[in-house]
């Protein structure tokens, strides 16, 4: 029951955040150069179209009413029409979703499969901490566009067997995913390391050491389960980060994903596309975080009984 209440609380606060995001995006679009009508319809709109839009969004009414109209349109899935392709933005995003989705998914998988073991390893071998710190630091300090450009160049010039640019099938995503996950691996490893080290000082671990249990037994039975929560939480954050990083990787590898689409749209003032893309990214992040919270609630029932009913 408490757990259900906690979940409900999380869902309500996620909804509030989503509302806040929509306000921010609406405000940003209003602040961009060019009027709202021009933004939604493009520069060649006829007077009729403008009148229709003014009617639909109530452009003669207060900003709050306009926001309400806009929100209602978005809720119906009406994100407007791309100024350039003259197609509904939704269909363009839908066509590009698989590329960005797969790219992010693969990168999260790689980050988890490599980063978690790496983190555990550097935590239990704390005497070599410096090496771990340097390695994870290196992952953070090489920008994607440098690594990406390097990989694209090497794999295209020396025919190393994997496609480096363009999108034909899933194979085209191998290199981009690896490049994208490079940063995520080191963040995952670092978080895992911190989490594991946090658990290692718990009394029950000391007790287990005292009982003479083997180190790997301790890790498997005591540490990993308890260190899982921060790592699972991290995955949502990582996914959001990767969605952003995907933008640059898509650009470098010329992948027709949502990220490169949004960058181009900014350059051309195709605002309807910018709004929809940004809203999508934020929504994915919020929903993912909500899901993660639900999962964490299951792993760690303690969360259901904190004083305020939920975490901040």
């Amino acid at each position: 029951m408490r757990l259900a209440l906690w979940w409900l609380g999380r869902a309500v606060s996620a909804a509030a955040t989503l509302l806040g995001v929509s306000i921010l995006i609406f405000a940003a679009v209003r602040m961009m150069p060019g009027g709202f009508a021009e933004t939604i319809l493009g520069p060649f709109a006829t007077a009729d179209q403008k009148a229709e839009l003014a009617d639909r969004y109530g452009l003669d009414q207060s900003v709050f009413v306009q926001y309400g109209h806009w929100l209602a349109a978005v809720a119906r899935g009406d994100f407007g029409v791309s100024m350039i392709s003259r197609e509904p933005v939704v269909s363009e995003l839908w066509a590009r979703l698989p590329v960005t989705g797969q790219l992010t998914l693969f990168s999260v998988l790689i980050a988890t499969l490599v980063g978690v073991p790496l983190g555990v390893l550097t935590a239990v071998r704390a005497r070599r901490a410096a090496v771990g710190r340097l390695l994870s630091g290196l992952g953070v300090s090489v920008p994607e566009f440098v690594l990406g450009s390097l990989v694209v160049f090497l794999f295209s010039r020396y025919a190393l067997g994997l496609p480096a640019g363009g999108y034909d099938n899933v194979r085209s995503l191998v290199l981009p995913s690896l490049v994208l996950s490079f940063f995520a691996i080191s963040i995952t490893a670092r978080t895992t390391r911190d989490a594991v080290m946090g658990v290692l000082v718990e009394p029950y671990v000391t007790a287990a050491v005292a009982r003479g249990e083997s180190p790997w037994f301790i890790i498997r039975h005591h540490v990993l389960r308890n260190a899982a929560i921060p790592v699972v939480t991290l995955l949502a954050t990582i996914t959001a980060y990767l969605l952003g990083g995907a933008l640059i990787v898509e650009y470098v590898f010329n992948l027709p994903g949502i990220g490169s689409y949004v960058v181009q749209a900014v350059g051309r003032r195709d605002y309807a596309v910018v709004q929809a893309g940004v809203l999508l990214a934020a929504t994915v992040f919020i929903v993912l975080n909500l899901l993660v919270d639900l999962v964490v609630g299951l792993i760690d029932p303690r969360l259901g009984v904190t004083s305020k009913g939920r975490r901040a």
Binding site: G42, F44, S149, S156, R157, P163, G166, Y251
Partner: protein
């Protein structure tokens, strides 16, 4: 609204090809190309196959795919696969027959076009004189900037099924050259009038290829137009175009063989691809040129005093702009593009013969000794490089330039968006077209309109321009054009700088391509109907 004003200047900006003077590279794969060409197609290769081409930018205007409203060279290039004009330009800018098999010029103001017999739109319908007349009339009635280039057209009439008359109000020498560009293409007027085809959303023309599919900003698949009028053409069964914004992505595709042909923007492409086996880099000269805009119309303009503008013009080192910013490709130019017949010699212009001391003196006289201004540019290479060399040039005479770089959409908004315009100075390039008199028309803001916000018309200059476009080719016209050059140099509101190079690269094991030595309409794929595919 500002997008309508992007017009030709910015426009052109979007095409990111660039490169080198023709003489330097007149050989391809060991064999010498014909005069007027940088590369010629190997005729012994069999026809067939689909060619993979990568370009930096898709047709991206808010006007959609309507060729008459296309004002960007990169759009003209893609549209030329599908659309054709009555006449076309050959190597070295001779006008050649295209959809018109021949034409007569019975008086300076009258042209009679004999249409080719066996021309079909790719939907199978035969092209008629009505399509030709309808297309030109539609263009003249449109908002197209190309109306200004087409000249003083009085009437377009159908004489019979195969003959079309065009009458001009006055003589206009660039008429045929203007007719040779994509905005003057023959459209399927029957379908447009029936509303069965929306040319803003799809392309249907008489050209060698037809559109099989298009994903905006991602790719085009072009198939062969089976009823194309030119025997044996197109040689290819199809062309797949991939849009790759990042230069590095196009280079990668060339290296890996994913692309057979690509246009490149970096002026150093040749040395950068030197280590890649099987990739040949061609440098094409163009008549396009960079120019500097000095806004004289904003209140309190820093350039209202002609002496200040003259000093800036003198301080600009066009040789250095060419050698440093453009890697030695591109040449100094006056307002008549270097490379076109009848163009003036930029070395003889007043600004080229004066020195830095003269510039400093002029600035002192004008009381502008500590001049500081902002130069607005778009971020597409190599414009930032050109701007930075300009900045260095002007520092020599004590002028401080602050560069403000933005994407093309914002740049166009700033430069063309307001009357009077709010910027100090701006940099862009014009496509140079195919006749030395054409681009000079933009120096009369009353004709060009898009630059009214930052430039005032000079009656003496305007009449010199009008005089030069009326005169038939010959010594008198060359002298008149030289006069225009000098007047533009003195007026110095829009300062011509250097021509813009263009680079095309291809895989020698996958394609055989043809390329003119000099191009006027930014079309690197002009000869694509004759391109061949090689199988490795």
């Amino acid at each position: 609204m500002r997008h309508r004003l992007l017009a030709v200047p910015l426009a052109a900006a979007v095409l990111v090809t660039s490169a080198c003077s023709a003489q330097e590279t007149s050989t391809t794969g060991g064999s010498t190309a014909k005069a007027g060409y940088v590369a010629t197609v190997d005729d012994s290769l069999p026809a067939g196959g689909t060619l993979d081409v990568e370009l930096p930018i898709d047709i991206g205007a808010a006007t959609g795919l309507d060729p008459q409203l296309a004002d960007v060279a990169s759009s003209w290039q893609l549209m030329s696969l599908v659309y054709e004009t009555l006449v076309t330009v050959g190597p070295d800018f001779a006008v050649q027959p295209a959809l018109a098999a021949s034409w007569e010029n019975p008086s300076p103001t009258k042209y009679v076009f004999r249409l080719r017999d066996d021309v079909f739109f790719s939907n199978g319908r035969a092209m008629t004189a009505d399509d030709v007349v309808g297309s030109l009339q539609r263009l003249l009635a449109s908002q197209s900037v190309w109306r200004g280039q087409l000249g003083p057209v009085k009437s377009v009439t159908k004489v019979d099924d195969k003959t079309v008359d065009v009458e001009l109000t006055t003589a206009y020498t660039p008429f045929l050259a203007a007719l040779a560009n994509v905005p003057a293409a023959v459209l399927p007027m029957k379908e447009i009038n029936e509303k069965s085809v929306d040319v803003t959303k799809t392309m249907l023309g008489t050209g060698p290829f037809k559109v099989d599919s298009h994903r905006q900003d991602v790719s085009w698949a072009f198939g062969k137009n089976d009823k194309y009028w030119s025997d044996g053409e197109p040689r290819l069964d199809g062309v797949n175009v991939t849009i790759a914004t990042e230069e590095a992505a196009r280079v990668a595709s060339l290296q890996s063989g994913k692309a057979s042909v690509a246009t490149l923007g970096n002026v150093d492409s040749k040395s950068m691809l030197a280590g890649a086996s099987g990739v040949e880099v061609l440098s094409q000269a163009t008549t396009d040129f960079y120019y500097l805009m000095l806004n004289t119309q904003v209140s309190g303009s820093k350039f209202a005093d002609p002496r200040v503008r003259k000093a800036i013009n003198i301080a600009l080192d066009r040789e250095q702009i060419s050698s440093v910013a453009l890697g030695g490709q591109g040449k100094p130019t006056g307002v008549t593009p270097t490379g076109l017949p009848g163009a003036c010699d930029p070395a003889g212009l007043p600004s080229a013969t004066a020195g830095a001391e003269e510039a400093k003196k002029l600035l002192a006289e004008a009381g502008a000794t500590n001049l500081t201004f902002t130069l607005s540019i778009f971020s597409t290479a190599p414009a930032p490089a050109v701007a930075q060399v300009i900045q260095q040039n002007l520092e020599q005479v004590g002028i401080t330039v602050k560069i403000e770089q933005m994407d093309e959409a914002s740049w166009a908004g700033k430069v063309y968006g307001a009357v009077p315009a709010t910027f100090d100075a701006a940099l862009s390039w014009f496509a140079g077209y195919a006749d030395a008199g054409m681009v000079t028309k933009w120096w009369n803001p009353d004709v060009a309109v898009f630059n009214k916000g930052f430039m005032k018309s000079d009656p003496a200059l305007s009449s010199a321009i009008d005089k030069a476009v009326v005169l038939p080719a010959g010594d008198a016209r060359t002298a008149a054009l030289a006069e225009v050059c000098t007047k533009v140099d003195e007026d110095a509101q829009m300062l011509p700088l250097v021509t813009r190079p263009s680079t095309v690269a291809y895989r020698t094991d996958a394609a055989s391509v043809g390329l003119y030595a000099t191009e006027g309409y930014g079309n690197a794929l002009r000869l694509i109907a004759d391109f061949r595919k090689k199988s490795a």
